[in-house]
Symmetry: D2
């Protein structure tokens, strides 16, 4: 975790205090279930809930000696609870606590990330509607193609992050399982009903079959999903970076009055937030492969996954949380320049309408090849004039073209509204009936 | 695609013949819809279906000249159809064809992979029931832990691949969308109803909002899912490799009578299939990151994703198909040695029962720390004797232990059946009520 | 290997014919050495060289039966050589042949790649000198910064690919080792002098210590190096893609007269080659992780690396060879537009000189903060005018500025030549004394 | 950075205090050079060295306001130095400081890592000589092959880490460059001699051509090299994990008397350190791809690499430093069991000698195929007896074998010393003449 790329609510999920608190709850709920089943005295469970406490520093000190975190934790709790603490953890194995705790942490992290996505979606929707009919040039290969609207760009992002949300909900469901199944997952020393009770209390489902550990394909899927979301963040961030280029400048990250740009070039307003998001996306993607490599544990488990998860559990969720919030801020406050969009649209001398003319020629009876040739030869002249010549005027003056199309027919092909006629349809598909 | 790691049915999905056939169907269905809408003559659509044909070599030859695959294809089709072919592709853009075709190919590939998983699941279930109660030692960290059954190991794999199946079904749904939305996704020159018709005919859903292309987060999610499945393959393959080690030898890949092992060491039967699967898993995982990097296309699209997909579309699906089939074969014919499993179980002098003794001591009133100390000091003696001493006998002879537990109580703790009492429960969870 | 991204010379290195030919040479040279040492009859070696032959199809047929490629090969060779063939492969193990063959193939592939880099470097140097003093705007964050020359951009790429070349030479050296050390690398059944002889004949160094295999950290380093080179390709490709954007258009990929762009927009000239290179770079990078995962083979070897190398050996080298050649072609024929570069340089109303003014103010005694404020307030006006206002004029009219600097002093700060005065120095560093 | 996987010396390289100290030195040395060149007053440089100071908290506070770290730093330094501070940073750009600082940090980190490798090599060498002639079974595919010595295993690791050391030395050289070249690398406002002076003082070489930044292919190569080293760590760690398996138990991580294993199974001594190293290797490998993705910055630079480097700069070097030290400790104190190695060697009834018999039969005139058949049919019997039968006895009793070889000839083939005769040669190759 890098402090500058961290937000407190997500960070706190990964704090030692939180982790030990979850451990305590798992152990105490398990004790309740055992008491209910008559395996341990009810008084032990009551005592644990009443007196149970721990201190992070004390646990660390004990662990330094015994080199085992769960034993250190239980020893510390026993110092508070007294002799009844001996009933804690009976028939359980460390992983029962560790893996179920990780499930709780990842589920809580997912909840925050889902909220992040909701906020992003809300902002995307608002700004999409704001610019629903703001014309701008659509580009393929970085080259002007045909008109779109800025709202469509944002609606596209909305649809993409809405898919991300659905994927995250699915990944959360996968990850939120509880295993209290003992040393090799056979429930040899613990009743499966204990697991069911803890699962319910901790907001998890039971893991149908565990070894000592919860299977790591679940976690692999989870982190892979975060990697996909990060890639979608990179997509939108890259769009903003392109739009803010000096020569394009159709939109800009908000630049607060007090903020300094480059120390050397005071006029510069750099898209540093979206560039930063591009880098953060690389990191979250980088955590996918270690998570995939964690799946093939040996036999009923080895502990190689553990160090990986100490890194990527916090790093991936904290970074993604920060990135989603930053992206939301960028979109929320994005300064949009419709005038510049129009100016860019116009600069190609009408070339963006060439496709429509091509179709008109075909429909007027020209072969596909001839139509293409006629449009191309005029388009090339416009292109080489760097926008000084107008495609409309050239076409009207081309005898082969005017033999096929009237002036009105040609002019009609240069109508911008023509391109925007289905924006409502698309918004309806993306945002639902209220669009 | 490496021929030795390819199977014909999957390979054929990626053959040029198949691709062009799908292109043809997309174009022809689109023409039907346009005819229905009165945009083009119905006769054109009829003519295309009646006379439409193509030749792979001819398309290649034209493409070499025009350097554009879809134009080459359309030109070749027009050679067969005649002048009516000019109505084909009207208002469409190449990506409408290419991306919808890729969706069809990936959906078909998914169907094969789902069948592969079904076969694997069937085999895993059969063999799991066969060895439901075959005792074997459970190992954590590669070290003997407590008894499990070989059936549990396979049931665990079943549950894992069942999750893989569900993920693949979801990924298939994500990938199976149709976009016929024109140059920048605005339907400027094509009616959205054309898209709806083609989608239905090709077994796809409509893409709610496309740019020129279908958004690549869908594909990223698809290939990430394949990477997770590959990791699960590696897990089971690694298990088999461990079990076949000379010193363990609890199971072996089937070794056909005619098959030769090492050229140098004729006695060797190497787990070459599962080692091979380990390598194949690395490859399928390796395709995840390029797919993630494909998401952030520039503006309404650039074509950087295309070369990546020419590799990973076939390579990932063909390799995974082969790997699933190979794994199914390995499990189907796996030679299992229950005697050896029992022998390995016994070799540790009963140490695997130490956990139960520990619990018994705690329940008899000893503190957790004292119980641990008592078990550990006897266990260490057994360990150092390399199985020559028996934990049971040592415990019975330990006065501190016998002060807390009777001989019967100690002996009862060494009962293997104790560990297997919940196998039915677990099978029920994994395989359903009929377990 | 994707045919469209393959070139024949590199492809042929990976053809079965080539592989078996190398196998034959390794075996025959080994036999020579054994004959020299008196271990086998000299006549056997002579016979093998004289009659030795193989047929790919025959080997495949035998392998289908015995499921072992080296045995199949030897059997086929024996069919040609006769009984003397029994002396072949004595004391050797399959990996001796396979790994040494792979070393030869990777060394040959490296040689081609080094040639590719040499051609790219040559083209970069030529075009760098051609545009050594062609002014163009330097951009950070996609925003105009200060002037550079187009030659400097190419010189930068030259320096980068020159480093790539040095890395590849080092990687080639690492990979070009020969191991003929027997089943577990102990030379139990073969004299180390055989290895030395084969190494010399095949242009390799001896592997100081092998297990059964050549250690895979060598290969990991090799493929990691290819991944770095691919990333440098992506860097230069991305530069071209940016320069070709409609709004920038400072350079363009060569567009042959017959070539068609988009089927829908005939005026478009898309940077499809460099977009393609971006995708190819992703693939070559994607092969790095599988190569890294190949390092940790079990004990003296397992065969999991083999399938990985069947993919990435050809795929990484063939793709990189193609990509380097394509990039060389793009740079060689790149259409450069110096007029447009100048136009873009001018469009910001002189803002790019703000840094120099800032310095002048500081040197004239203003504090850093004051200088910054003075420049920034004028620069902001220019910025907001979209290039209509001139920074030079505004500064001259600003009383606080003119209190510190004379008109001449201000004007002198807007001299373009000032920025280019060290171009010679930099070219000298990059290209050597002849610059 | 995870505290439990961090060591203070490496961590301190990445502390804010260290970073700002390096910034200060870069700025102050640059000022010296400017004073020497007569660009700024010598008194300014003296003043800066004499009074220059900074406080991390103060810089953070200023940065929170101006949102620019280098400006914040300079402002804070100016608070100490007074008006002469205005000469600092003249003609420089932030990246001049940031990138040169990163070069210093990575060079220092490399020095620590090289020391780590030296210590590991020393320990490997000592233990390799200790067990130079300790026989143990060599395994391919996890299956017994032929005898090696434990010293050979360690010598193999020595050679591998010696290569890693050479690679790291090369990577350090690549990364240790200094750029003080201004806003777009043209030295427009700064004399190249300033760069040369700072480079010399900071122990770096000059960057021949920079844009605003030092080219990121250097860093990509650096982190790729760390990824290769991590993979070699995983290899040796995996070897130890295999050797410690219950059924193999030829070596064990040192288990301190006070250390507790599993809370549930007190007899267990788990290879937790090497499992941990396996996980750490995954993390260091995971940082390679983000570093590769950092290469393709836009034009003269964008800042997307920065966030990535804030993570992987510390994380990769700190983790690798920790991992190398941990691995060194594991090997240093590894408990080796020669008796168990011998026992395992013997357990296969002599099958490991089958290769030698095969050769003897061939040399006695049998065809390769016949020899193979004869050995295989006896070997299979031994194999199926689980070591109860002896290959030596079976061969002596096989009439077809005894028709070709005398009893003495057969027995001689079962001599262990035969396999170890070239150990000296190999040690000489690995450790040099003194071996």
């Amino acid at each position: 975790m890098i402090p500058r790329y961290s937000r407190p609510q997500m960070t706190s999920i990964w704090a030692p205090e939180t982790r030990f608190r979850i451990w305590f709850e798992i152990e105490a709920h398990a004790l309740d279930a055992m008491a209910e089943l008559g395996i341990v005295p009810k008084s032990a469970a009551d005592e644990v809930w009443a007196k149970g406490a721990f201190e992070v520093e004390r646990i660390d000190a004990i662990e330094a000696e015994v080199k085992h975190d769960v034993i250190a934790f239980l020893t510390n709790v026993a110092e508070h609870v007294g002799p009844e603490a001996r009933f804690l953890h009976q028939g359980m194995t460390s992983s029962d606590v560790l893996d179920t705790c990780l499930a709780v942490q990842l589920a809580r992290a997912s909840d925050l990330l889902i909220e992040d996505l909701d906020r992003l979606l809300e902002v995307l929707k608002r700004r999409a509607y704001e610019h629903k009919l703001t014309p701008t040039i659509g580009r393929s290969h970085g080259i002007h193609a045909e008109p779109v609207t800025f709202g469509l760009k944002l609606a596209f992002a909305y649809a993409e992050f809405d898919r991300c949300r659905a994927r995250l909900v699915a990944a959360r469901e996968e990850i939120a399982t509880c295993a209290i199944s003992g040393a090799v997952g056979t429930f040899a020393n613990i009743d499966p009903r204990v697991e069911a009770h803890v699962a319910e209390k901790m907001g998890l489902t039971i893991e149908p079959i565990s070894t000592q550990v919860i299977p790591r394909d679940r976690h692999a899927m989870f982190f892979a999903t975060l990697g996909v979301i990060a890639s979608s963040i990179e997509r939108l961030a890259t769009e903003v970076r392109h739009l803010q280029r000096t020569e394009v400048l159709e939109a800009e990250e908000y630049f607060s009055p007090g903020q300094k740009g480059s120390s050397a070039m005071p006029h510069k307003r750099n898209p540093v937030l979206t560039e930063n998001l591009t880098g953060l996306a690389r990191m979250v993607r980088g955590y996918v492969t270690p998570a995939l490599e964690n799946v093939a544990l040996w036999h009923e488990r080895d502990i190689s996954h553990s160090s990986v998860e100490r890194y990527i559990g916090p790093d991936a969720t904290v970074t993604l949380d920060f990135a989603l919030a930053r992206l939301t801020g960028v979109i929320d406050k994005l300064v949009v320049y419709p005038d510049r969009m129009q100016k860019n649209l116009d600069r190609m001398g009408g070339l963006v309408h060439s496709q429509r003319v091509l179709l008109a020629l075909t429909q007027a009876g020209a072969s596909r090849e001839d139509s293409y040739r006629l449009v191309q030869r005029n388009a090339m002249k416009v292109w080489e004039s760097d926008g000084a010549l107008s495609l409309l005027e050239l076409l009207k003056a081309d005898p082969e073209v005017s033999a096929l199309l009237t002036t009105e027919q040609i002019e009609e092909r240069f109508d911008l509204g023509y391109h925007l006629k289905h924006v409502d349809t698309i918004f309806g598909r993306v945002f639902g009936l209220d669009a």
